[in-house]
Symmetry: D2
Subunit: 366 residues, 4 copies
Amino acid sequence: MSNTFGRLLRVTTFGESHGPAIGCVVDGCPPGIELAAEDFAHDLGRRATGRTRHTSQRHEADVVEVLSGTYEGVTTGTPIALLIRNTDARSKDYTRIAEQFRPGHADYTYWQKYGRRDPRGGGRSSARETTMRVAAGVIAKKWLGERYDVQVRGHVAQIGELTPTTFDWTAVENNPFFWPDAAQVGELDTYMDALRKSGDSVGARIDVIADGVPPGWGEPIYGKLDAELAAALMSINAVKAVGIGDGFDVVAQRGSEHRDEATREGFLSNHAGGILGGISSGQPIRCSVAFKPASSLRLPARGLDAAGEEVEVVTTGRHDPCVGLRATPICEAMVALVLMDQALRHRAQCGDVGEVGPHIPPGASG
Amino acid sequence: MSNTFGRLLRVTTFGESHGPAIGCVVDGCPPGIELAAEDFAHDLGRRATGRTRHTSQRHEADVVEVLSGTYEGVTTGTPIALLIRNTDARSKDYTRIAEQFRPGHADYTYWQKYGRRDPRGGGRSSARETTMRVAAGVIAKKWLGERYDVQVRGHVAQIGELTPTTFDWTAVENNPFFWPDAAQVGELDTYMDALRKSGDSVGARIDVIADGVPPGWGEPIYGKLDAELAAALMSINAVKAVGIGDGFDVVAQRGSEHRDEATREGFLSNHAGGILGGISSGQPIRCSVAFKPASSLRLPARGLDAAGEEVEVVTTGRHDPCVGLRATPICEAMVALVLMDQALRHRAQCGDVGEVGPHIPPGASG
Amino acid sequence: MSNTFGRLLRVTTFGESHGPAIGCVVDGCPPGIELAAEDFAHDLGRRATGRTRHTSQRHEADVVEVLSGTYEGVTTGTPIALLIRNTDARSKDYTRIAEQFRPGHADYTYWQKYGRRDPRGGGRSSARETTMRVAAGVIAKKWLGERYDVQVRGHVAQIGELTPTTFDWTAVENNPFFWPDAAQVGELDTYMDALRKSGDSVGARIDVIADGVPPGWGEPIYGKLDAELAAALMSINAVKAVGIGDGFDVVAQRGSEHRDEATREGFLSNHAGGILGGISSGQPIRCSVAFKPASSLRLPARGLDAAGEEVEVVTTGRHDPCVGLRATPICEAMVALVLMDQALRHRAQCGDVGEVGPHIPPGASG
Amino acid sequence: MSNTFGRLLRVTTFGESHGPAIGCVVDGCPPGIELAAEDFAHDLGRRATGRTRHTSQRHEADVVEVLSGTYEGVTTGTPIALLIRNTDARSKDYTRIAEQFRPGHADYTYWQKYGRRDPRGGGRSSARETTMRVAAGVIAKKWLGERYDVQVRGHVAQIGELTPTTFDWTAVENNPFFWPDAAQVGELDTYMDALRKSGDSVGARIDVIADGVPPGWGEPIYGKLDAELAAALMSINAVKAVGIGDGFDVVAQRGSEHRDEATREGFLSNHAGGILGGISSGQPIRCSVAFKPASSLRLPARGLDAAGEEVEVVTTGRHDPCVGLRATPICEAMVALVLMDQALRHRAQCGDVGEVGPHIPPGASG
């Protein structure tokens, strides 16, 4: 049951890293949305491996086939199945892995849970699965944009100890680091080259902002918008923390500082990150996500093998020195899917509420 | 649908802060657990308001009535309904609130979503609801302890800028701050007194540790143990961030540092917080939760009223200068409920897997 | 998890026949519906025991207390909890039952499932639980009527071998048999008296018709309107069969007879019972439900006791010679709850579809 | 959301009759089951079109590709995706259908719900979808058989007005009618030939029996085993009624006849069909299912077209004179899926209950 995500807009993914294919079924999508195979190319390309020398060198075509759910290029309300064949699955790289539990990986926990596992490329636990999240997210982004003018965008906000010194959305899509400060890109190149050379890896922080979300989305108590965003983002491989608005910074704040005051011109700040009581306030929704450093390293680590013997684990295959570098479109996708699901749920229960006054403009974004 | 929590162990809560009663229905609980009304007193007392001068002065008896689901003091497998009558609902304190949207509160968002709201004490958005989480959590803690020897414990890990200098579990339950360093209690008293006098509030961080969780609990991909912990904890009032293991600290870590190596004696560190690939590893599960500072302050704030006019909002009723102080048992309850739900799900799917070797001892706890 | 019914409008019931109380939580209800405790009296009265000499003589006040979810008499969108105290629980009638497995009852199956059971009045398996279905159904009927002008009505269509010779809705509510032919009421009185005297019981068939359902409600493939009606009705105590439209009669029909043709004036017949492909067609929705004869009889039956010994089981307490006689409002409630749930789901996914032409008038009702 | 079936064993199907492919994802399946593409051939062959001259002449290879969820021929606990390419989709047969609403079909209701539809072969509403139910059911049958020695078998119990005169399971699989009386096969051939010649169709009744189900499966109150069987079977195309045990015959029965008495040698009858209070009793589970006659006929019918004009609808393509003839494996699959799902749920909640005495042997089967 756990391979399905969402309540009304439901995404079920399947597939192993080195199996025949990966895919997903998107159920509950409204009819009438124009959708073609080409729509998936942009975000899949943003996520793709092999995009720069700083990411894993797996080269997948990642061509999406739309198997169902559309007729004459428009969604019909029936389930949309998307399929991507795995074409670059070099399983020879992974033969030794079958005998070892790699530290920091899910090898041991899958083994303990299921009593067996598919070791080829990490099987189901591989980040390959996130490809289908991005694909499903394309549909959600499209609907949110066309129907509500909601825009979901992310960027890398920290790599290791480095943070941006300036912020510019237009920079983000023009460098392989999804970095909002163009002037730092050279520094990042050097930093990543040194890291790769050292055989080590580093963590990253991604921020995602959703602009244009109307007030009222989100369901108290256990379906709160922030609770579902937290689950959605935490479910991405390698994520260890999620914050909404100011996140952990709120611990040291005073209430007089944190509470976002409002005037008729709008909110004066956005410490809350656009969500109060689990419901959107009309301000931009801000999420922060922490990605751990990859555990597959050339540097040897102590671990156990399947026989319980101590072994030295070394990874020789292709791997990313910073898995967070490709995670921006994945985070965006998960946020978009949560928002679309909540939008559908909101109109189910509150479809008759109509416009309610007064309306506080978004005001401050940060 | 959003007032139900869990997949197999399902908790449905109801009730408003100043309505006739609050309650919950716990469905899916295994039969054969001894359960009496008295079992709830300890944790409800830990959460209760009025416990010290540092928390809100609402005095509720909070006597739980078990309405169903037990026979001769033992659970029967049918739904367990718990009820607490609201006896100290002084609604006069809240009359003005009906006309204003308090900054930092859910007043405005409920209004926008539903077109109406119960303003008495915050209605459904009040932290009063968390009482039933604690009650339900008592059942989960009991079952986890008796069936698996799992222990779920929390403590306050930061108040404002203050952090503990030493750590001692026995100290935690012996001061009103759930603070692990007894020597600092006097300092905290002074700190909180000054804060209350200033009319302001401050945030807090709670850490929860679950010891004894066997490897194998948690469901990839969207039912990951960490994803569900994140949702459960983020759904608590005032929470703005959740971390697992090292949380946001992983961003600046190197992979060679983060990945928890293992020998036959056990794991050598626990940066992952006991979860890999969404599945428990057998190490202690560590969660961190950020609580924002309360927004109800004597200090005036700018806001709007129901007519859209700008008003100065001042809170005169009883309120907490640090809402995090009472949150420890709430966080424990949510962690326990997630764990019990996952334990039931695990034996549903993998009940035939049996013991799988090799087994890595928990080793390092932090 | 199984004590919750519905997907968006979710009803969770709890309580045992002779426990302290029974109740339910209705989650997902739209805000803005006027609702008072008095609204439940009519349908609960229609269901009540003790209404005639032909039904069980348990006399419950069945006064509903609304514990949450309304403010100033109007629903707020938060969960609506309803509670009824059990006041006439004469447990002395049931002491022997604890030692025996009554043939035709759930005693043995609960015992085998849970390893224990509450024997007082059948515990959770008692028809007492259906009281809360009727209460929840009141909310659904109210919303369907006010929002869509949908009317859900039921009647008894067969008692033992007796069937109505004429049909008149106004007769149904004017006799204790919910019988559509007033002229037969005397005959039914005689029939039931003889049955009760004989110590035996008899089955019944209930038909429920929903008029005014617009086309488009229902979700293919596994959430079909007819599939959910079947589950909802089959979940009622003592039900053994459910038919939609012509039900089992379709087996012997020809396609040329069964398919409901249409002209611009409307459908020419309604063999389908208003549902095609799992979606409402705009015609009246027709369901038939078969209730088995009660198994609690004065006539002795062979069974086993808890020690595995053969015993003669005789029921001496109050029981109904025809449990179907009180089932009409229960069936109506389940149909109304399914329809309201589907209506909410329909506007979630298809809220933007708008009016679609051409529209075929309902035409023939049967 | 409605294209997913089950709670713990979850089957999500997708695909249109004449789209690129149909498929399903089976999530929640226990690890350790041997599974190969060949396992699906037998039951898909039993369901296949083109098997006799009495069924539609569509010739699909229906070769199942296993896309995920197995490793070295054994299930791993991850989602199992199955895919069948549509190879014989002659869409030219259906061009006129796009302009008309065929009486007795879902054309009009899909149109009203979604504002559009895929008219090629009925799109998603085609019985083609049931292929994937049969495929998923193969996994459930396999697990039930290997793990619990449960056997799920069905047969045609009525075609039009014809019923079997004798009963023999071995006959069922040896004639194209799944008919339990070999001596009547010639008569059925003649009957069906005449029907096809006349251009008309006829209904059918299927009975499914599950032997070996242990007592204790099924979840009161809304997850009752019979309620879920009713929904599962009613969700199959063309089904209009479902009965458990004696079904609608219980209406005219007396309680002294219906209640299944028991001795130490076992139950003396099985009017209940193996389910009491929604939980299996250990007796054979008996279900009856009514299939309506197909509506696609050479005989013209009155209907409307998309412009609202009255038209004469005639079907010229390949269609079945009795759709029930191919439904036996579909019904078996749905029963098997419900049983496996309930078995998993049972061990989740009651996995510690263990063997409970006394145990009543199955005894009488009918």
